[in-house]
């Protein structure tokens, strides 16, 4: 079995989950609590990555992150390197690809916060920002957990997009799902099943961890 690919997969899923939680929280907050012109359009745009087939997303990312795309060019100007075919590149792709799964459950959780708790927080002198961290976040743990589970698992399964911007370089961007793809394509079904099975304990461990965190935060 390709342990290196499994390792890259896990690393990618963890990094994606952590970063995405940080990025999605403020976005979810904006969507839940503010209104501005074009908000639903922005929301639709954020969710678009879900609705597109991975091939299409991968292709657009390739263009944007490539040497002629504006992101790729900006990156090259700053660092002198390329974003494509690197771990950082697939991390960015994976984050973009999973954004909807992080934003949507978080937004739902934030919307459910009792307004009275926010009133109480403001009275106690908390700015909106501090109230976000000290009241909204701790009272949205189950929604945040849901987001984390979705993002983590989705990143493990992501494949079309990663293949496109990653180029399947062993130890760097070759993830386990690519190994499954290869095994299926070459009719090596038992190998495919083996790798797929190895995902069960991983998902299981992650779910246990999340549900533990979730339980601890019960009122």
């Amino acid at each position: 079995m390709d342990y290196l690919a499994l390792y890259v997969t896990l690393k990618l899923a963890l990094v994606t989950t952590i970063f995405l939680m940080l990025i999605a929280a403020p976005i979810a907050y904006l969507l839940a609590y503010t209104s501005f012109p074009g908000k639903s359009l922005l929301e639709a745009l954020i969710y678009l990555p879900m609705a597109l087939p991975p091939t299409a997303i991968g292709f657009y990312l390739l263009v944007v992150m490539g040497p002629k795309g504006f992101v790729g060019q900006a990156w090259e100007t700053i660092t002198g390197g390329s974003l494509l075919f690197t771990f950082l590149g697939i991390t960015i792709a994976s984050i973009l690809y999973s954004i909807p799964f992080a934003v949507q459950p978080m937004k739902a959780a934030f919307q459910k916060i009792d307004q009275r708790l926010l009133d109480a927080a403001y009275i106690l002198g908390l700015s909106k920002r501090t109230a976000f961290f000290r009241v909204i976040i701790p009272n949205s743990v189950s929604g945040i957990a849901a987001a984390a589970v979705l993002v983590f698992l989705h990143s493990i399964g992501a494949f079309g997009v990663l293949l496109m911007v990653g180029g399947s370089i062993p130890g760097e961007t070759k993830v386990a799902s690519i190994a499954i793809y290869e095994a299926v394509e070459t009719m090596n079904y038992s190998a495919a099943g083996m790798i797929a099975l190895s995902f069960i304990p991983i998902s299981y461990a992650f779910l246990l961890l999340i549900s533990k965190l979730n339980e601890d935060s019960r009122p």
Binding site: L62, G69, M164, G167, I169, E182, T186
Partner: protein, 224 residues
């Protein structure tokens, strides 16, 4: 009347034109389902209602025949591996081997050498040229030749092994290419599936597929 054909992804464009021609002539509707060869093979084994299978290789039709699911396979196209680059300067070198040895070439795309026959022959060619090990660090793996071409024409890589069938793409003319003589032709076989209920019509289409008329279209799309 209509027939249903499972077509390997690299042959989509050529197939569409051939099917349109055939329809115009015979009023028989030809419906294509496009996917990777492995995928289509699995579907056929699972009882997919296709009449004809156009594979990207010769192994899978052979297996189908051996398993009694298909008639004797026949070759319907020969694909050719090429090395394409968006930067025309790339082709100033005398041979593709020399072009690849250039220090300025940092990344080279190759289709999956395990799942794609084009990737496999590209690997063979690189090995023959003694470059396989040397270029290992520069190789970027694509899922198939379409993706390999995408890498090359978005300049994500400096050059990419693809198939001559990319020549109908609108981007084709923006770059330059080498033929890879060292790479054997990719022999794409087809087979009529035993399950078919309109054998006569399918045979008619199979014959058309290897007719001079179709041959011309295939040439246009980069097959022999």
């Amino acid at each position: 009347e209509k027939i249903s054909v499972a077509v390997a992804a690299n042959f989509i464009a050529a197939f569409k034109e051939i099917a349109a021609d055939f329809e115009a002539k015979t009023k028989i509707h030809v419906e294509g389902t496009f996917s990777s060869t492995g995928n289509l093979y699995s579907q056929i084994v699972s009882g997919a209602p296709y009449d004809l299978f156009l594979s990207a290789d010769k192994q899978r039709p052979a297996i189908l025949q051996k398993d009694g699911l298909a008639d004797r396979p026949f070759v319907y196209a020969r694909g050719q591996a090429i090395l394409w680059a968006a930067d025309r300067d790339f082709c100033k070198a005398a041979t593709w081997q020399d072009a690849l040895k250039n220090e300025r070439i940092k990344k080279i795309a190759i289709a999956n050498t395990v799942t794609s026959p084009y990737g496999a022959v590209a690997k063979t060619a690189l090995q023959k040229a003694g470059l396989w090990d040397a270029l290992q660090r520069k190789l970027v793996n694509a899922q198939d030749i379409a993706q390999s071409f995408q890498y090359a024409n978005t300049s994500a890589v400096d050059a990419g092994f693809c198939s001559l069938s990319a020549k109908t793409s609108s981007q084709w003319k923006n770059g330059c290419f080498y033929m890879i003589a060292e790479a054997p032709d990719i022999i794409q076989s087809a087979c009529i599936l035993k399950k078919t209920k309109n054998r006569a019509v399918v045979e008619q289409f199979a014959a058309f597929l290897v007719s001079p008329e179709a041959q011309e279209i295939k040439m246009k799309f980069g097959y022999r």
